[in-house]
Symmetry: C2
Subunit: 211 residues, 2 copies
Amino acid sequence: MDQETSYHHGDLRRALLAAAHETIRTRGAARLTLREVARAAKVSHAAPYHHFKNKDALLAAVAEQGFRALRQAVEARSAAAARPALALQEAAVAYVLFAVEHPDLFRVMFGPQLADKSAYPSLQAEAAAAYQAVEEQLARCGLPGEGSSDRAGHLALASWAVMHGLAMLLIDRQVGEVNATAAEDLAKHVTDIFWLGLSGYHAAPDSGSTG
Amino acid sequence: MDQETSYHHGDLRRALLAAAHETIRTRGAARLTLREVARAAKVSHAAPYHHFKNKDALLAAVAEQGFRALRQAVEARSAAAARPALALQEAAVAYVLFAVEHPDLFRVMFGPQLADKSAYPSLQAEAAAAYQAVEEQLARCGLPGEGSSDRAGHLALASWAVMHGLAMLLIDRQVGEVNATAAEDLAKHVTDIFWLGLSGYHAAPDSGSTG
DNA sequence: GCTCGTATCTTGACATTGGTAAGATAGAAC
DNA sequence: GTTCTATCTTACCAATGTCAAGATACGAGC
Protein backbone atom coordinates (compact mmCIF):
# COMPACT_ATOMS: atom_id res chain seq x y z
CA MET A 1 0.00 0.00 0.00
CA ASP A 2 1.45 3.29 -1.04
CA GLN A 3 1.10 5.92 1.65
CA GLU A 4 1.45 8.65 -0.94
CA THR A 5 -1.62 7.71 -2.94
CA SER A 6 -3.89 5.98 -0.45
CA TYR A 7 -6.94 7.76 0.83
CA HIS A 8 -5.99 6.94 4.39
CA HIS A 9 -2.57 8.21 5.30
CA GLY A 10 -1.76 5.44 7.73
CA ASP A 11 0.46 7.40 10.08
CA LEU A 12 -0.83 10.92 9.91
CA ARG A 13 -0.31 11.81 13.53
CA ARG A 14 3.39 11.16 13.35
CA ALA A 15 3.62 12.89 9.98
CA LEU A 16 1.86 15.98 11.34
CA LEU A 17 4.17 16.11 14.34
CA ALA A 18 7.19 15.81 12.07
CA ALA A 19 5.90 18.52 9.76
CA ALA A 20 5.17 20.81 12.70
CA HIS A 21 8.64 20.17 14.05
CA GLU A 22 10.15 21.06 10.72
CA THR A 23 8.14 24.25 10.35
CA ILE A 24 8.98 25.33 13.88
CA ARG A 25 12.64 24.62 13.25
CA THR A 26 12.84 26.55 10.02
CA ARG A 27 10.38 29.39 10.48
CA GLY A 28 9.50 29.59 14.14
CA ALA A 29 6.34 28.68 15.98
CA ALA A 30 4.73 32.05 15.39
CA ARG A 31 4.57 31.37 11.66
CA LEU A 32 3.28 27.84 12.12
CA THR A 33 -0.05 27.23 10.45
CA LEU A 34 -2.25 24.20 10.79
CA ARG A 35 -3.10 24.38 7.14
CA GLU A 36 0.52 24.47 6.11
CA VAL A 37 1.28 21.50 8.33
CA ALA A 38 -1.54 19.66 6.62
CA ARG A 39 -0.18 20.68 3.25
CA ALA A 40 3.27 19.39 4.16
CA ALA A 41 1.72 16.07 5.08
CA LYS A 42 -0.13 16.06 1.75
CA VAL A 43 -3.47 16.04 3.47
CA SER A 44 -6.51 18.29 3.47
CA HIS A 45 -6.68 21.22 5.84
CA ALA A 46 -9.24 19.56 8.10
CA ALA A 47 -7.50 16.23 8.47
CA PRO A 48 -5.38 17.25 11.49
CA TYR A 49 -8.53 17.72 13.54
CA HIS A 50 -8.96 13.96 13.62
CA HIS A 51 -5.67 13.65 15.50
CA PHE A 52 -5.42 16.88 17.48
CA LYS A 53 -8.24 18.79 19.07
CA ASN A 54 -6.91 22.10 17.76
CA LYS A 55 -3.74 23.96 16.91
CA ASP A 56 -2.70 24.35 20.53
CA ALA A 57 -3.00 20.61 21.07
CA LEU A 58 -0.56 20.03 18.22
CA LEU A 59 1.83 22.56 19.71
CA ALA A 60 1.49 20.89 23.09
CA ALA A 61 2.38 17.55 21.56
CA VAL A 62 5.45 19.07 19.95
CA ALA A 63 6.44 20.67 23.25
CA GLU A 64 5.99 17.37 25.01
CA GLN A 65 8.40 15.69 22.62
CA GLY A 66 10.74 18.60 23.22
CA PHE A 67 10.75 18.08 26.98
CA ARG A 68 11.44 14.41 26.48
CA ALA A 69 14.35 15.18 24.17
CA LEU A 70 15.68 17.81 26.56
CA ARG A 71 15.64 15.44 29.49
CA GLN A 72 17.36 12.73 27.48
CA ALA A 73 20.04 15.17 26.34
CA VAL A 74 20.65 16.31 29.90
CA GLU A 75 20.77 12.80 31.29
CA ALA A 76 22.96 11.48 28.51
CA ARG A 77 25.55 14.21 28.80
CA SER A 78 25.70 14.21 32.58
CA ALA A 79 25.96 10.42 32.60
CA ALA A 80 28.94 10.66 30.28
CA ALA A 81 30.78 13.14 32.50
CA ALA A 82 34.43 12.38 33.08
CA ARG A 83 34.16 12.82 36.84
CA PRO A 84 30.96 12.61 38.90
CA ALA A 85 31.62 16.10 40.21
CA LEU A 86 31.29 17.41 36.68
CA ALA A 87 27.96 15.74 36.00
CA LEU A 88 25.95 18.71 37.16
CA GLN A 89 27.88 21.13 35.01
CA GLU A 90 27.56 18.82 32.06
CA ALA A 91 23.83 18.74 32.63
CA ALA A 92 23.72 22.51 32.54
CA VAL A 93 25.78 22.60 29.38
CA ALA A 94 23.45 20.09 27.76
CA TYR A 95 20.48 22.20 28.78
CA VAL A 96 21.91 25.36 27.27
CA LEU A 97 23.11 23.56 24.16
CA PHE A 98 19.68 22.10 23.61
CA ALA A 99 18.19 25.57 23.72
CA VAL A 100 20.78 26.96 21.33
CA GLU A 101 20.38 24.10 18.89
CA HIS A 102 16.59 24.09 18.97
CA PRO A 103 15.73 27.67 19.86
CA ASP A 104 12.24 27.79 18.45
CA LEU A 105 11.31 24.44 19.92
CA PHE A 106 12.64 25.64 23.26
CA ARG A 107 10.47 28.71 23.03
CA VAL A 108 7.42 26.60 22.33
CA MET A 109 8.22 24.55 25.41
CA PHE A 110 8.54 27.54 27.71
CA GLY A 111 6.93 30.38 25.86
CA PRO A 112 3.43 31.80 26.06
CA GLN A 113 2.25 30.12 22.88
CA LEU A 114 0.44 27.51 24.91
CA ALA A 115 -1.78 29.64 27.03
CA ASP A 116 -2.78 27.08 29.63
CA LYS A 117 -0.35 24.21 29.90
CA SER A 118 -2.54 22.78 32.63
CA ALA A 119 -4.87 21.66 29.86
CA TYR A 120 -2.26 19.16 28.71
CA PRO A 121 -1.38 16.82 31.59
CA SER A 122 1.09 14.71 29.64
CA LEU A 123 2.96 17.88 28.71
CA GLN A 124 3.09 18.91 32.33
CA ALA A 125 4.33 15.47 33.27
CA GLU A 126 7.21 15.66 30.82
CA ALA A 127 8.12 19.15 32.02
CA ALA A 128 8.12 17.96 35.61
CA ALA A 129 10.29 15.02 34.67
CA ALA A 130 12.80 17.38 33.10
CA TYR A 131 12.88 19.46 36.26
CA GLN A 132 13.35 16.33 38.34
CA ALA A 133 16.36 15.39 36.22
CA VAL A 134 18.01 18.61 37.33
CA GLU A 135 17.26 17.92 40.96
CA GLU A 136 18.67 14.43 40.67
CA GLN A 137 21.90 15.78 39.29
CA LEU A 138 22.07 18.19 42.20
CA ALA A 139 21.61 15.40 44.70
CA ARG A 140 24.11 13.19 42.91
CA CYS A 141 26.77 15.86 43.14
CA GLY A 142 26.63 16.00 46.90
CA LEU A 143 24.50 19.10 47.12
CA PRO A 144 21.42 18.78 49.29
CA GLY A 145 18.81 17.64 46.83
CA GLU A 146 16.29 16.34 49.31
CA GLY A 147 17.53 17.32 52.75
CA SER A 148 16.12 20.41 54.40
CA SER A 149 13.26 21.04 52.05
CA ASP A 150 13.42 24.80 51.82
CA ARG A 151 17.09 25.29 51.16
CA ALA A 152 17.20 22.32 48.83
CA GLY A 153 14.38 23.83 46.85
CA HIS A 154 16.15 27.15 46.63
CA LEU A 155 19.30 25.47 45.43
CA ALA A 156 17.53 23.52 42.76
CA LEU A 157 15.59 26.57 41.69
CA ALA A 158 18.69 28.71 41.53
CA SER A 159 20.49 26.09 39.49
CA TRP A 160 17.68 25.82 37.06
CA ALA A 161 17.33 29.57 36.89
CA VAL A 162 20.94 30.04 35.85
CA MET A 163 20.71 27.45 33.12
CA HIS A 164 17.34 28.60 31.97
CA GLY A 165 18.20 32.27 32.02
CA LEU A 166 21.41 31.76 30.11
CA ALA A 167 19.59 29.63 27.57
CA MET A 168 16.88 32.24 27.14
CA LEU A 169 19.28 35.13 26.79
CA LEU A 170 21.30 33.19 24.26
CA ILE A 171 18.41 32.27 22.00
CA ASP A 172 16.93 35.74 22.24
CA ARG A 173 20.23 36.99 20.85
CA GLN A 174 20.32 39.39 23.76
CA VAL A 175 23.93 38.31 24.08
CA GLY A 176 25.96 38.32 20.92
CA GLU A 177 27.26 34.81 20.28
CA VAL A 178 24.89 32.00 19.54
CA ASN A 179 27.01 29.22 18.00
CA ALA A 180 27.28 25.95 19.89
CA THR A 181 30.91 26.11 20.98
CA ALA A 182 30.61 29.66 22.26
CA ALA A 183 27.43 28.70 24.10
CA GLU A 184 29.13 25.71 25.68
CA ASP A 185 32.00 27.86 26.80
CA LEU A 186 29.69 30.47 28.27
CA ALA A 187 27.66 27.82 30.03
CA LYS A 188 30.79 26.40 31.63
CA HIS A 189 32.00 29.79 32.79
CA VAL A 190 28.64 30.76 34.21
CA THR A 191 28.19 27.46 36.00
CA ASP A 192 31.71 27.70 37.35
CA ILE A 193 30.80 30.98 38.93
CA PHE A 194 27.63 29.53 40.25
CA TRP A 195 29.05 26.31 41.68
CA LEU A 196 31.34 28.20 43.96
CA GLY A 197 28.32 29.99 45.26
CA LEU A 198 26.52 26.74 45.83
CA SER A 199 29.29 25.21 47.86
CA GLY A 200 29.70 28.44 49.81
CA TYR A 201 26.00 28.54 50.49
CA HIS A 202 26.13 24.96 51.60
CA ALA A 203 28.87 25.73 54.07
CA ALA A 204 27.48 29.09 55.25
CA PRO A 205 23.71 28.67 55.19
CA ASP A 206 22.75 32.29 55.79
CA SER A 207 24.41 35.30 54.28
CA GLY A 208 22.48 37.73 56.43
CA SER A 209 20.80 39.88 53.84
CA THR A 210 17.56 37.98 53.73
CA GLY A 211 17.23 36.69 57.28
CA MET B 1 -13.03 69.52 20.84
CA ASP B 2 -14.50 66.24 21.95
CA GLN B 3 -12.18 63.37 21.27
CA GLU B 4 -15.08 60.95 21.46
CA THR B 5 -17.03 62.39 18.57
CA SER B 6 -14.47 64.09 16.38
CA TYR B 7 -13.45 62.51 13.13
CA HIS B 8 -9.81 62.85 14.04
CA HIS B 9 -8.95 61.17 17.28
CA GLY B 10 -6.26 63.60 18.32
CA ASP B 11 -4.04 61.23 20.26
CA LEU B 12 -4.59 57.88 18.62
CA ARG B 13 -1.05 56.61 18.92
CA ARG B 14 -1.06 56.88 22.68
CA ALA B 15 -4.57 55.47 22.87
CA LEU B 16 -3.56 52.47 20.77
CA LEU B 17 -0.54 51.84 22.94
CA ALA B 18 -2.67 52.02 26.05
CA ALA B 19 -5.27 49.68 24.59
CA ALA B 20 -2.60 47.23 23.52
CA HIS B 21 -1.08 47.38 26.97
CA GLU B 22 -4.43 46.65 28.51
CA THR B 23 -5.19 43.73 26.22
CA ILE B 24 -1.74 42.24 26.81
CA ARG B 25 -2.19 42.61 30.54
CA THR B 26 -5.60 41.00 30.68
CA ARG B 27 -5.49 38.40 27.92
CA GLY B 28 -1.89 37.95 26.87
CA ALA B 29 -0.07 39.00 23.76
CA ALA B 30 -1.05 35.87 21.85
CA ARG B 31 -4.69 36.91 21.90
CA LEU B 32 -3.93 40.48 20.95
CA THR B 33 -5.62 41.61 17.77
CA LEU B 34 -5.02 44.81 15.88
CA ARG B 35 -8.70 45.07 15.15
CA GLU B 36 -9.63 44.68 18.77
CA VAL B 37 -7.13 47.35 19.75
CA ALA B 38 -8.73 49.61 17.19
CA ARG B 39 -12.15 48.76 18.58
CA ALA B 40 -11.01 49.61 22.10
CA ALA B 41 -9.84 52.98 20.83
CA LYS B 42 -13.20 53.49 19.10
CA VAL B 43 -11.58 53.68 15.74
CA SER B 44 -11.88 51.77 12.49
CA HIS B 45 -9.72 48.70 11.99
CA ALA B 46 -7.48 50.40 9.46
CA ALA B 47 -6.72 53.48 11.52
CA PRO B 48 -3.78 51.96 13.43
CA TYR B 49 -1.87 51.58 10.18
CA HIS B 50 -1.40 55.34 10.11
CA HIS B 51 0.58 55.14 13.34
CA PHE B 52 2.24 51.72 13.20
CA LYS B 53 3.51 49.97 10.13
CA ASN B 54 1.95 46.68 11.19
CA LYS B 55 1.00 44.62 14.20
CA ASP B 56 4.61 43.78 15.04
CA ALA B 57 5.50 47.46 15.09
CA LEU B 58 2.79 48.06 17.69
CA LEU B 59 4.11 45.17 19.76
CA ALA B 60 7.61 46.54 19.44
CA ALA B 61 6.46 49.91 20.71
CA VAL B 62 4.81 48.23 23.69
CA ALA B 63 7.96 46.23 24.37
CA GLU B 64 10.03 49.39 24.17
CA GLN B 65 7.89 51.03 26.83
CA GLY B 66 8.30 47.85 28.84
CA PHE B 67 12.08 48.00 28.74
CA ARG B 68 11.98 51.61 29.81
CA ALA B 69 9.73 50.76 32.73
CA LEU B 70 11.88 47.79 33.67
CA ARG B 71 15.01 49.86 33.73
CA GLN B 72 13.35 52.54 35.82
CA ALA B 73 12.08 49.96 38.29
CA VAL B 74 15.52 48.42 38.60
CA GLU B 75 17.26 51.76 39.01
CA ALA B 76 14.72 53.09 41.47
CA ARG B 77 14.83 50.09 43.74
CA SER B 78 18.59 49.72 43.70
CA ALA B 79 19.00 53.44 44.34
CA ALA B 80 16.78 53.10 47.41
CA ALA B 81 18.81 50.24 48.83
CA ALA B 82 19.62 50.56 52.53
CA ARG B 83 23.28 49.77 52.02
CA PRO B 84 25.23 50.11 48.77
CA ALA B 85 26.20 46.47 49.03
CA LEU B 86 22.56 45.56 48.74
CA ALA B 87 21.93 47.63 45.63
CA LEU B 88 22.70 44.78 43.28
CA GLN B 89 20.40 42.40 45.05
CA GLU B 90 17.67 45.01 45.10
CA ALA B 91 18.12 45.42 41.37
CA ALA B 92 17.64 41.71 40.91
CA VAL B 93 14.56 41.73 43.10
CA ALA B 94 13.12 44.60 41.11
CA TYR B 95 13.80 42.73 37.89
CA VAL B 96 12.03 39.60 39.07
CA LEU B 97 9.17 41.56 40.57
CA PHE B 98 8.64 43.42 37.34
CA ALA B 99 8.34 40.11 35.50
CA VAL B 100 5.92 38.72 38.06
CA GLU B 101 3.77 41.81 38.06
CA HIS B 102 3.72 42.21 34.27
CA PRO B 103 4.20 38.67 33.04
CA ASP B 104 2.67 39.05 29.62
CA LEU B 105 4.43 42.32 28.96
CA PHE B 106 7.68 40.67 30.02
CA ARG B 107 7.06 37.88 27.55
CA VAL B 108 6.48 40.35 24.77
CA MET B 109 9.77 42.00 25.63
CA PHE B 110 11.78 38.79 25.55
CA GLY B 111 9.60 36.30 23.77
CA PRO B 112 9.50 35.25 20.14
CA GLN B 113 6.48 37.36 19.27
CA LEU B 114 8.71 39.92 17.63
CA ALA B 115 10.52 37.84 15.08
CA ASP B 116 13.35 40.20 14.28
CA LYS B 117 14.01 42.77 16.95
CA SER B 118 16.79 44.16 14.81
CA ALA B 119 14.07 45.79 12.73
CA TYR B 120 13.27 48.12 15.63
CA PRO B 121 16.38 50.08 16.60
CA SER B 122 14.76 52.07 19.35
CA LEU B 123 13.56 48.84 20.92
CA GLN B 124 17.06 47.44 20.79
CA ALA B 125 18.40 50.62 22.31
CA GLU B 126 16.05 50.38 25.27
CA ALA B 127 16.90 46.72 25.77
CA ALA B 128 20.60 47.53 25.72
CA ALA B 129 20.04 50.32 28.23
CA ALA B 130 18.32 47.87 30.55
CA TYR B 131 21.25 45.49 30.27
CA GLN B 132 23.65 48.31 30.96
CA ALA B 133 21.78 49.16 34.14
CA VAL B 134 22.61 45.67 35.41
CA GLU B 135 26.27 46.08 34.54
CA GLU B 136 26.39 49.41 36.30
CA GLN B 137 24.97 47.89 39.46
CA LEU B 138 27.61 45.18 39.25
CA ALA B 139 30.38 47.73 38.96
CA ARG B 140 28.92 49.85 41.74
CA CYS B 141 28.97 46.88 44.10
CA GLY B 142 32.68 46.38 43.81
CA LEU B 143 32.51 43.53 41.33
CA PRO B 144 34.60 43.97 38.22
CA GLY B 145 32.23 45.67 35.87
CA GLU B 146 34.77 46.94 33.42
CA GLY B 147 38.11 45.43 34.36
CA SER B 148 39.34 42.36 32.53
CA SER B 149 36.84 42.32 29.73
CA ASP B 150 36.19 38.58 29.51
CA ARG B 151 35.63 37.80 33.12
CA ALA B 152 33.63 40.94 33.67
CA GLY B 153 31.41 39.96 30.80
CA HIS B 154 30.89 36.52 32.23
CA LEU B 155 30.00 37.95 35.60
CA ALA B 156 27.47 40.33 34.16
CA LEU B 157 26.02 37.64 31.97
CA ALA B 158 25.76 35.20 34.85
CA SER B 159 24.07 37.81 37.00
CA TRP B 160 21.57 38.60 34.36
CA ALA B 161 21.00 34.94 33.64
CA VAL B 162 20.05 34.21 37.23
CA MET B 163 17.58 37.06 37.40
CA HIS B 164 16.19 36.39 33.97
CA GLY B 165 15.90 32.67 34.47
CA LEU B 166 14.17 33.04 37.78
CA ALA B 167 11.81 35.56 36.31
CA MET B 168 11.00 33.32 33.38
CA LEU B 169 10.46 30.24 35.49
CA LEU B 170 8.21 32.20 37.81
CA ILE B 171 5.96 33.63 35.14
CA ASP B 172 5.78 30.34 33.30
CA ARG B 173 4.39 28.90 36.51
CA GLN B 174 7.04 26.23 36.23
CA VAL B 175 7.61 26.90 39.92
CA GLY B 176 4.54 26.97 42.10
CA GLU B 177 4.30 30.38 43.75
CA VAL B 178 3.77 33.48 41.72
CA ASN B 179 2.63 36.15 44.16
CA ALA B 180 4.83 39.17 44.68
CA THR B 181 6.03 38.54 48.20
CA ALA B 182 6.93 34.93 47.49
CA ALA B 183 8.73 36.04 44.35
CA GLU B 184 10.68 38.65 46.27
CA ASP B 185 11.68 36.11 48.86
CA LEU B 186 12.78 33.64 46.23
CA ALA B 187 14.74 36.30 44.40
CA LYS B 188 16.60 37.22 47.57
CA HIS B 189 17.42 33.62 48.37
CA VAL B 190 18.62 32.87 44.89
CA THR B 191 20.72 35.99 44.68
CA ASP B 192 22.17 35.26 48.10
CA ILE B 193 23.36 31.95 46.80
CA PHE B 194 24.70 33.59 43.72
CA TRP B 195 26.51 36.48 45.38
CA LEU B 196 28.66 34.11 47.38
CA GLY B 197 29.64 32.53 44.12
CA LEU B 198 30.49 35.90 42.66
CA SER B 199 32.78 36.91 45.48
CA GLY B 200 34.37 33.49 45.46
CA TYR B 201 34.93 33.72 41.73
CA HIS B 202 36.39 37.14 42.17
CA ALA B 203 38.86 35.83 44.70
CA ALA B 204 39.63 32.55 42.90
CA PRO B 205 39.50 33.38 39.22
CA ASP B 206 39.69 29.86 37.83
CA SER B 207 37.93 26.82 39.24
CA GLY B 208 39.75 24.44 36.95
CA SER B 209 36.91 22.78 35.13
CA THR B 210 36.89 25.07 32.15
CA GLY B 211 40.51 26.04 31.74
C1' DG C 1 -16.06 -13.57 0.85
C1' DC C 2 -19.58 -10.19 2.01
C1' DT C 3 -21.91 -6.67 4.81
C1' DC C 4 -21.62 -3.06 7.92
C1' DG C 5 -19.96 0.01 11.56
C1' DT C 6 -16.48 3.26 12.49
C1' DA C 7 -12.32 5.77 12.16
C1' DT C 8 -10.16 8.53 8.81
C1' DC C 9 -10.02 11.90 5.20
C1' DT C 10 -12.21 15.50 1.97
C1' DT C 11 -15.06 19.17 0.47
C1' DG C 12 -17.40 23.22 1.63
C1' DA C 13 -18.54 26.80 4.46
C1' DC C 14 -18.22 30.64 8.11
C1' DA C 15 -16.35 34.23 11.04
C1' DT C 16 -12.15 36.58 11.98
C1' DT C 17 -7.75 38.34 11.05
C1' DG C 18 -3.71 41.18 8.91
C1' DG C 19 -3.08 44.11 5.31
C1' DT C 20 -4.00 47.30 1.09
C1' DA C 21 -6.44 50.75 -1.77
C1' DA C 22 -9.36 54.49 -2.58
C1' DG C 23 -12.31 57.89 -0.87
C1' DA C 24 -13.91 61.23 3.06
C1' DT C 25 -12.70 64.64 6.57
C1' DA C 26 -10.37 68.09 9.14
C1' DG C 27 -6.53 70.68 10.76
C1' DA C 28 -2.53 73.54 9.01
C1' DA C 29 0.12 76.49 5.72
C1' DC C 30 -0.23 80.20 2.84
C1' DG D 1 -10.51 81.39 2.14
C1' DT D 2 -8.16 78.07 -0.71
C1' DT D 3 -5.15 74.27 -0.82
C1' DC D 4 -2.20 70.78 0.98
C1' DT D 5 -1.54 66.94 3.88
C1' DA D 6 -2.12 63.95 7.68
C1' DT D 7 -5.67 61.32 9.60
C1' DC D 8 -9.62 58.36 9.52
C1' DT D 9 -13.25 55.37 7.10
C1' DT D 10 -15.26 52.15 4.01
C1' DA D 11 -14.57 48.34 0.95
C1' DC D 12 -12.03 44.69 -0.26
C1' DC D 13 -8.65 40.60 -0.48
C1' DA D 14 -6.24 36.32 0.79
C1' DA D 15 -5.36 33.39 4.57
C1' DT D 16 -6.43 31.17 8.86
C1' DG D 17 -8.88 28.27 12.66
C1' DT D 18 -12.69 25.62 13.17
C1' DC D 19 -16.98 23.13 12.28
C1' DA D 20 -20.43 20.30 9.63
C1' DA D 21 -21.59 16.99 6.24
C1' DG D 22 -20.35 13.78 2.93
C1' DA D 23 -16.86 10.29 0.86
C1' DT D 24 -13.67 6.44 1.60
C1' DA D 25 -11.46 2.46 3.45
C1' DC D 26 -10.15 -0.60 7.18
C1' DG D 27 -11.69 -4.23 10.44
C1' DA D 28 -15.31 -7.02 13.05
C1' DG D 29 -18.79 -10.37 12.61
C1' DC D 30 -21.18 -13.63 9.83
